[in-house]
Every structure is written in structure tokens, then in C-alpha cells.
Amino acid sequence: MRSSSSPQPPSERRSSAEGCCCARSGAAPARSAAGLVTPLRLALAAAAVVTWWLVYRNLAGFSAWLTYNALGLSRGSQLGASVEFFLYDTPKVLLLLVLVVFGVGVVRTFFTPERTRALLAGRRESVGNVLAALLGTVTPFCSCSAVPLFIGFVTAGVPLGVTFSFLISAPMVNEVALVLLFGMFGWQVAALYLGTGLLVAIAAGWTLGRLKLERHVEPWVFENLSRGSAAAGAEGVAGAMPWADRLRAGATAVREIVGKVWLYVLLGIAVGAGIHGYVPENLMASIMGRDAWWSVPLAVLLGVPMYANAAGIIPVVQALLGKGAALGTVLAFMMAVIALSLPEAIILRQVLRPRLIATFFGIVAAGILLVGYLFNWLL
């Protein structure tokens, strides 16, 4: 085994390894007879769904019973409140995570990057931006694939602004973030995050398209156009995938994603539980409350250089909100951390000139800023 001789700057190599979140893959469709949908398998699946529902419905009562009866903690005590919170939230969030990650894993088998590209190629800008932001949420994507994807899109005739809408929405609106927001703050906050995330992706992509920045794309990207295609084999694979393989893809997604984030979730909920029981309300109100106008830009400024996955950042969000920080400020912080990161900038540097990267980050940051102010003002 030898390595390709072409040199690559060490910094880029390191960051692309770091940026490789890639848990989202379409899983192995090893087509075998074992994958057939049999009545037994259907029955097992139905039983699993029913069990899931029963466990989920009874978590609140069970965690209370466990805390106050089995462990004998007294109701109304700080320790009791913390323990009950932990015992309730941990299984709840993990259950939600398994269900949603499985569902998204199955849905993703319908949206390969190649199919998404075909859907987006030649679209007009406004419609294209909306479609790209929506597709960004369901197409398998990871930051280490950002460059091949960018080139694949642009050379196939997807407008630059539309490509950016996709690149913004794909990391920002992800299933782990939505599940954790739903589990810990309710559906309203999750819906807000989904809606505003899409809006930022659409608006920022559209604006970038207006600016006509094509000349700031590295020229070698377009040189690729003239060369012949060699990758016919990789396309069209997903179309004829049998359902057993799609379900197996969901199971693989659960193994990969939940297997990676469960520890963060556990730690986050433990921190949240501590805050829930012990930390006085409104500790953060003076710093990150809605009356401090500078808190939103500060949150974005702090968020951009930080690099964390959704599972790692939501515990922090929980802590901030719990201590009285304003929702808009916290959403802005979370979006800045997930959507904009230095590793991503370094990866994209291979295809974009610095000025375009700066414009890209600037416009997305401005969109996030507006979202922060909007919610602080509205709520």
C-alpha cells in the first residue's frame, strides 16, 4: 500500500480529518436473501414500535416512582428534582434519538447527492434556494465531503447561490439537533430552529447568488468540466434499492450516530439535571438576557470559531437557557457553532478564494444575528 504522491498542506489534512463527522452514510446494502421482508420480521417491527410507544408514554411516571419510591428521595428536595430530571430525560432523549435517526437514515436512502444534484441543476435561483435548503436536511452530507459535493453541484449547472443554500442548511438543520431541542425544550423551540435555520439558508444563499461571486471560485473547479466522466457506476445506485436495504440503512445510521453521541447526550443531561435542581434562576439574565443588546453579536462571535456537533452544544444551550439567557441569543449561539466552523472554512479554501469564504461566513453570520434579534424581540 502506498500513498499518492501529491502533497497536501498538513493543516488541511488535519482539519479535514477533524471535520469528518460522517456518521451519515447510506448503509451497506449487501443484497442477500436474509434481507427479505417476511411476516415474522414485520411482526417484530410492529412489536418494536408498540414497545417503544409504551415505554415512551410511561417514562414520566416511572422516573418519578424510581426517584421518590425506589430511591426514597424526598419530593421537593434539590437532589430529588435533579435525579428525577436525569432519570426522565435520558431515556426520553435516547428513545427519540433512536426513532428519528432510524427514520432519517431510511429517508436518506432516497436522497443521494447525485439525485439531489439532478433535482437542483438548472433551477431558477429563488425556487432553487428553497429546494436546496429543504434537500440539505435530508441528503446525506458530511463536512469532509463538502468539496466534492460543491464541485459536483457547480459543474452540473447548479447556481452558486443555490449550492450555498444547500451547504448552509445541511449541517445546520440536522436530526440530532432537532431531537435534542424537541426533547429538552418542546416542539415549539424545535420548530423555531427548523424554520429559522431553513430561512437563514435560503436567504443567505440567495444573497450570495445576487453578489455574482463566481470569479472567486478557484478556476480548477471549472477545468474539471472539460474532462470526461468516469463515475457512471456511482450514480443511480440508490434508485432500485429494496426496502430491506433501506431499513438496514436506518439501523446502521442508529448504530453509527447514536453510538457516537450517546455519551454527549448523557453528559449534557447530567449537567442539565444539576442546573435544574441547584442553580438559581436568572443567573445569566443580566449577561445573555434580552435586555443586553450586545449579547447576540457576542454569541455569534463566540460561536463561529467553536466547533462542536449538535449533541455537544445542546447541553450548553440547556444550561444557558436554564439560567435565564434569552432564547434568541441562545439560538444564535447554537446556529453559529453548528453551521459555521473554521475546519469547514479550511476545507472550502480548496475551491473558494478567501474573499468568497469571508463573504459566505459574513452573510450567514448576519442572518443568524437577525434571527437572534428577531426572537429576543418577539418573545
Binding site: M1, S4, R13, S25, L149, N224, A234
Partner: protein, 77 residues
């Protein structure tokens, strides 16, 4: 001589794919040469849209994920 190429900028999945491909080729018992392609322009000349990707004798067999050993044997063999 089979020419196996692994396209990828060096993330964890790329090394996983290289390891699986290597094992599969050994199991098949055919003479082969395994190369890692890490330079982006070279990767893009294969027109893949996600990495890692497996190329056998110049044809892209798979991209964006790591196959099982059995699947890798099928793809290479």
C-alpha cells in the same frame, strides 16, 4: 493485476475503506495494487460527490460509505 484506488482526503472512514478493500482483495487471492488518492483534484477527476470512494480498474464502484467485507469482495472481484 487489479488496480484498487481509495479516494478520500484522509478522514477516519477513508482508512476504514482502505482496510476493508485490502482485506477483501487478499481474501480474493488476486494480484492487486492498492493506492490512496488524497489530492482533491485527482479525486474530483473521478467525479465522485462524496468520499470515501472505491475505484477498481478506473471505475467508481462505491462512494460515500464503507462497505461490508462481503460487499467489498463483490465490488472488487
Amino acid at each position: 493485476m487489479k488496480k484498487i484506488q481509495i479516494l478520500g482526503t484522509g478522514c477516519a472512514k477513508c482508512s476504514n475503506l482502505a482496510a476493508v478493500a485490502d482485506e477483501a482483495a487478499k481474501a480474493l487471492g488476486v494480484p492487486y495494487e492498492l493506492t490512496k488518492v488524497t489530492e482533491m483534484r485527482q479525486i474530483m477527476s473521478f467525479r465522485v460527490m462524496s468520499t470515501p470512494a472505491l475505484v477498481v480498474d478506473g471505475v467508481v464502484k462505491l462512494s460515500g460509505r464503507v462497505p461490508s467485507l462481503d460487499e467489498a469482495k463483490q465490488l472488487i472481484g
